[in-house]
Symmetry: D2
Subunit: 366 residues, 4 copies
């Protein structure tokens, strides 16, 4: 209700500020009996953490996750997993000079309008650091999806106007080969160049993330208000910096005719399939069994070295330059965050569908 919980049957509640004691998530509704090595979660966090490459922030945050509850003898017990990531760097002094200033593009002003006060150390709760908790929780969902054969692959489609020609099917392995997480090796080099230029200019760049999901069975997803794409849009648009979401043909469908947009059904090896996939894997909010394909638009980071005009708490004009080790482009590091949110949504939909499947309830114990 206050915004820190997401999901229905698989439910994630996060907490923590960028310069407090740490960030984390309580993950409830985890199916029991699932082997869950902590390394599995750590691996995803490592993909999100700063300092992983030349194009990301040079802050060193090891982001080590601890599982403080819900696991017994290496398996989930069905009770809540508590995932905690301690903050190791506390240089809140970096922020002393910003505490009375409303940084452009940041949530300083709105948090103060909402709450009457704000934790000004490093953006507090509105920091991108909050997404570490999402990634940890998403890894739990990912583990269960993976065991069920569902694969979620995110990658950079575009940075600073340079667009990848993604050669489908994109696999995680090919994505991880370069610092920008783009499956197009050539364009990746160009993207990196653009990021370096922006960084040198004290500026920042945006881009587009694309995600493909394979293996979600037809029938998952709900009607009306909780259509799969609506939940996915909610999940993805809730990531700081995401400004747009589209599924399948997306905004492009606005310029198509119905005869081109509609995906014909065909029978292939005895299964009903779609000949094309403009729908992006959902019809009426429910999975068709085809790949689910969506994109998220990511704005350039708000923290830039260039001088910007703004005001302070006393409503006086002010100029601000954001020092520190900020990301000139958040796209490569947001890829695992978008994947995480997608996994949370998909597992939740599949659990809801497990409950609602035809056949009623069963009365066998256990």
């Amino acid at each position: 209700m206050a915004g820190n919980t997401f999901g229905r049957l698989f439910r994630v509640t996060t907490f923590g500020e960028s310069h407090g004691r740490g960030v984390g998530a309580v993950v409830d509704g985890v199916p029991p009996g699932i082997p869950l090595p902590v390394e599995y979660i750590q691996r995803e966090l490592d993909r999100r953490r700063p300092g992983q490459s030349a194009v990301t922030s040079r802050r060193r945050e090891p982001d080590t996750v601890q599982i403080l509850s819900g696991l017994f003898e290496g398996k989930t017990t069905g009770t809540p997993l508590m995932l905690f990531i301690a903050n190791e760097e506390y240089r809140s002094s970096d922020y002393e000079n910003l505490k009375d200033i409303y940084r452009p593009g940041h949530a300083d002003y709105t948090y103060e309008m909402k709450y009457g006060l704000r934790d000004w150390r490093g953006s507090g709760r509105s920091s991108g650091r909050e997404t570490a908790a999402r990634v940890a929780a998403g890894a739990v969902a990912g583990r269960i999806l993976e065991l069920s054969g569902v694969e979620v692959v995110g990658y950079t489609l575009e940075i600073g106007g340079v667009r990848a020609e993604a050669v489908h099917p994109v696999r995680t392995e090919s994505v991880e080969k370069n610092a920008v997480r783009s499956p197009d090796e050539e364009r990746a080099k160009e993207m990196i160049r653009r990021i370096e230029e922006a960084k040198a200019a004290g500026d920042s760049l945006g881009g587009i993330v694309e995600v493909v999901v394979r293996g979600v069975p037809a029938g998952a997803g709900d009607p009306v208000f909780d259509k799969l794409e609506a939940l996915m849009a909610h999940a993805v648009m809730s990531i700081g910096g995401v400004r747009g979401f589209e599924i399948g043909a997306g905004f492009g469908s606005a310029r198509m005719t119905g005869s081109h947009f509609n995906d014909s059904f065909i029978v292939e090896k005895g299964n009903i399939r779609s000949e094309t996939n403009n729908a992006g894997g959902v019809l009426g909010g429910i999975a068709t069994g085809e790949d689910i394909l969506f994109r998220a638009a990511v704005r350039p980071p708000a923290s830039i070295g260039k001088e910007q005009k703004t005001v302070n708490r006393k409503k006086e004009s002010a100029a601000v330059r954001i020092g520190g080790r900020h990301d000139p482009c958040i796209v490569p590091r947001i890829v695992p965050v978008v994947e995480a949110m997608a996994r949370i949504v998909l597992l939740d939909c599949m659990l809801v569908q497990k409950a609602q499947k035809p056949g009623g309830i069963d009365t066998e114990s256990g």
Copy 2:
């Protein structure tokens, strides 16, 4: 949980099928003591109903709303409003020949995969008729917002590739002047021409709806998972046919630099304002006090007269032409639906903020 409820403190639950007894909504969490004439709701429904102009379906559905509970002496009582819209046309015989066919672009196949059966009369629950309940519920929210000075104006930005040059500020009056609900009179004529061409060809067109919201105070909206734009994306993407959502600069922000994207704060007449509004009225998920501006991409309608290839329930190839009086372009009629969902989200956020405002709770009775 099963998808038919939306909202937190202002909560809408809808029901009904296109060819059942009717559709409707239970609206809970309505502030008490609000004068609510039934005509106010009816006026919004009239904007959505088919048959209102030459470019929409010629079906005649008067869509008369009845308020069956929650109103006393013309005012809301704080108890649930039950809004019911009886179905008057029951020509389910139109659909007899489609009952074993999976129409391309429709939810026939996915509903059957999900539920094991489907109400094949006119798309059942997945019909666009379901949105009448949204519009009715949204009108209730709109009434309360209007009394508080919050204005929500939706309009057609683009149809079939023809884009309006919207002259801001757009007002409802100018939007209602033409059949496509576009504030650009010249382009509206061109849009109408395109729709007529598509219709003649047995085809359909998509487009883009834009919404501007004025008067939401800074501080409304929530952090992390329930950011205002995330709830709005959820709401808008849950409307059948919407394939993309973007706020402020949206997908365009992916190609901007931070120094151009960031909106500088300034002081104007003693108030803190944003010099530009690339953020679309939200920072960190919370309203800045500027206009909230978002867009929704609408695909071309699935029901077209042209012959399409598909399969039937026996997994045999089939050809299908959808007869009947379908909309060649749903954009003009979806405008009030998008507005309705926006109003539901905004009122909900403002009620949540009312509860969470600094100052704790008060202990005065009543």
Copy 3:
């Protein structure tokens, strides 16, 4: 959030006032493909309606239910069921003289404190008539439970201090043999006598309802906050007039020792069973597989013919006698309401358990 919705996966939203157009429920999360004759629901409503016997109100409310959505060819479709019960008697003139008076034991005063106004016609939303919607929704749950072999039997244990010696196992058939719904024929006569005496004196009586549930499998129910007995207490205590709830040995367990209270586990025909059932069928909030047994204390109805002292809206002293055809004892008519709420809770718990069962998710379509 505003109090008119109950349940998680099986979710009931009710609406309506005693002297408005009608009352009803939207039931969401109904498993698809269940044959549901309207007569099945009507039968339960007939057990609740006034005028069914000499000891209940003589008001004639036929309480005919209509299913306005969610059913197709006699089966549930998985989409929301809308159950509507029109009000047929509108004698709100009966209440004109009470509109400025706060009746003792009624919610007149508190509704006005909460909402700033109230629908004074026959108690409005706080009327017992609201429970008709619960019974209708509970019948839907009951239908599904019945098909799964789960049986819920409620009966009158005590009225006006006369306590039945219930001969277990109690079956619905034996309960329906007398006007007070008590399985003890002899005591039932005495209960009826007491009710008639109270009625003649312009007074009213309370009592206790007991419910036994058979066939819930071990494992249903949730830990911590959503223990089966906690959800059941919530559900049952939400019925107007219920003032206490206990499960198994209940308040009696406060005077037992651990060695007597603990139910020993035994093996019977290869199954683990409890030798006694002081726990009432739940341990740690989760069903043991034994009968679930609980009791609800019901206060005497507030509407009595005797003169009572009170105040009016102007804070002046006043005297009030409640005329009209009120129940001198609500216990016999509350039995089906308690059963209904029990069924809603149990089906909900079983659906949640269906989703959370070990074995993860499956990826087969449909």
Copy 4:
């Protein structure tokens, strides 16, 4: 959904097992700007912890709470509070011999039926240790209520059949004077004697906790399903060991007549009051402004030294004696837990009422 979250606007999510790394709570929806010293929370935990007196378990668990998020410069920020209580004793070896045995009165069997496995170290998630998280979260609610003038006082009404003659008004100070937390000094001595006898016999005792709430304004609480007493029953019945709940006259009302049960309204010093308070401070689910008074029945603890008959996982008969330092009576330590749950419910109801108060929404920023 999986049972570990409670509340609507003030929402508590708990986690942790008795012999894992710790237990804790994420508290969301905390009003911002509230001074919250950690000592305030610690004080409540000290009232719950074992080893505090001769009649409780001699286990030494310091139960030190840490606030890991949501606090800045000593004040709440409106973002989630993370309260963590590390487990210091890990003697899970105590439980090795019990890991294949289903202890009578414990949740061993039901957890295994539900989840397919269980954390057998010290009852795992079903341990009473879970309630430490409730007490910590409840202290946060208590802090806010206290600042608003709402007081919640719980005390032991009965232990082992010895009933206190509580001299109202009961205050926390008088309750804390003795080891059993009973306001009746004389009977407290007798209660202590009974507990010592039970302990010596390797047995345990139950009892009754009573709670009085002062200062909740008329109008708090919701109608129909979320009546204040229904939420309270849910909250209190969710505490392990509570077997019954009653409000006001409770089960006693079943034997009253309406003319005695109904509380007459009177005017006192210009305010509308109830002459008696059989209703226990609520009518129609909404607070009357009178004291809210309720009772909870607490069963004798399941862990006793006496030999008990049971079965093991192989369905073989077994005998079990529970060694270790268990409470012979949990009533004195459950008092702060019941208070905590009451505070959570009350604050939640008051926040919901803050949102829903007549007067609509306001559009002032901040």
